[in-house]
């Protein structure tokens, strides 16, 4: 177990393993996107109240779920990096952030588009949308802090610490926003959280689960790609990168 852990932490080993795994994750993501997308758009039944606008759920809900779990993932890898001083964990953590921010932005945009026909406005201070907005700022904070610090090790640790502080706050923010929302909102407005989980029909559940899987596989794919780049960048002076370049050069 521990030897596996440390082997994984070796950049070279990670680079090679990730390279081998990448195509499989990419294929899996593409297939589940295609299958889930077609199922959700064309074959799942319309909602009896919202009609076909419910099909936005198949991207909004996965993006919202992933935006939260990617943040948690980012914090956990940061903790691993901070506690065991594993550089690779920091690299993974750093590269999870932009993907998570993209998911958060998707959740916000699709939430707004979904809300328009329901609420009659493009933006409602709905509990889920408000939480997502704040989450987006949390992502931006981690990314901005990392960019602002020139020295890499310091940037890694500082951004990692901020991610950990953020992840402690996420549930508190979520709860407080929920409370604030029930205080200020009449019952006339249905929140996204409520309509996203009606007594969900199996024909809706399957495409939804497929799309969640698709988003997860997409996350892993892009994460591996980004981290491989970063490994290469940081290890550019090492012997194995030199050998790699030599073989790729075709000379």
């Amino acid at each position: 177990m521990w030897s596996f852990f440390y082997k994984l932490a070796s950049p070279k080993w990670f680079y090679e393993l990730a390279g081998k795994l990448l195509p499989w994750f990419a294929i899996g993501a593409a297939m589940s996107f295609a299958l889930g997308g077609i199922w959700g758009l064309a074959f799942s039944p319309p909602d009896y109240q919202q009609g076909d606008s419910v099909r936005i759920m198949y991207i909004h809900v996965p993006a919202a779920i992933l935006s939260l779990s990617v943040y948690t993932f980012m914090a956990i890898t940061a903790i691993i990096g901070l506690v065991w001083k594993i550089k690779l964990a920091h690299m993974v953590s750093a590269n999870a952030a932009p993907i998570g921010a993209a998911f958060t932005a998707i959740a916000l945009a699709t939430g707004s588009l979904w809300g328009r026909p329901m609420w009659g406005t493009w933006w409602e201070w709905d509990a889920r949308l408000t939480s997502e907005l704040i989450l987006l700022f949390l992502y931006f904070g981690v990314m901005a802090l990392r960019n602002a610090i020139d020295e890499r090790t310091t940037a890694d640790k500082a951004a990692g610490l901020l991610a950990v502080v953020g992840v402690v706050n996420v549930p508190i923010i979520h709860y407080s926003v929920e409370w604030w929302n029930t205080l200020h909102q009449g019952s006339s407005i249905t929140s996204l959280a409520r309509i996203a989980k009606p007594a969900i029909h199996a024909d809706m559940l399957w495409p939804l689960l497929l799309m969640i899987l698709a988003f997860k596989l997409f996350f892993v794919t892009v994460l591996l790609m980004r981290t491989r780049n970063e490994v290469l960048d940081r290890e550019r002076r090492s012997a194995w990168v030199g050998e790699l370049l030599e073989t790729r050069d075709g000379v």
């Binding site: 997308g37 758009l41 064309a42 074959f43 799942s44 039944p45 319309p46 009609g51 076909d52 606008s53 099909r55 936005i56 991207i59 909004h60 993006a63 932009p98 993907i99 993209a102 932005a105 998707i106 945009a109 699709t110 588009l113 979904w114 328009r116 026909p117 997409f218 794919t221 892009v222 790609m225 980004r226 491989r228 780049n229 290469l232 960048d233 550019r236 012997a239 990168v241 030199g242 050998e243 370049l245 030599e246 790729r248 050069d249």
Partner: protein, 73 residues
Amino acid sequence: MAFENWSAFWAMGGYALYVWASYAITALALGLTLLQPLRRRKALFAELQRQRRRSAGEAMATVPTSTEKYEQR
């Protein structure tokens, strides 16, 4: 199939704008997220190769056995 025909599919029961805009935005955002590391990889490899050739050239000028020297470093 939940729709009678293709035009009904594109119309999305009157919600075409919202549904298709959502999927388009998502596709765009995921596409850009995917494209970024691909382009970075290309640029990075080009940069590293350039760097390698330059340092190999320098090594060549001083010491003849360039590849051997390179691997030692």
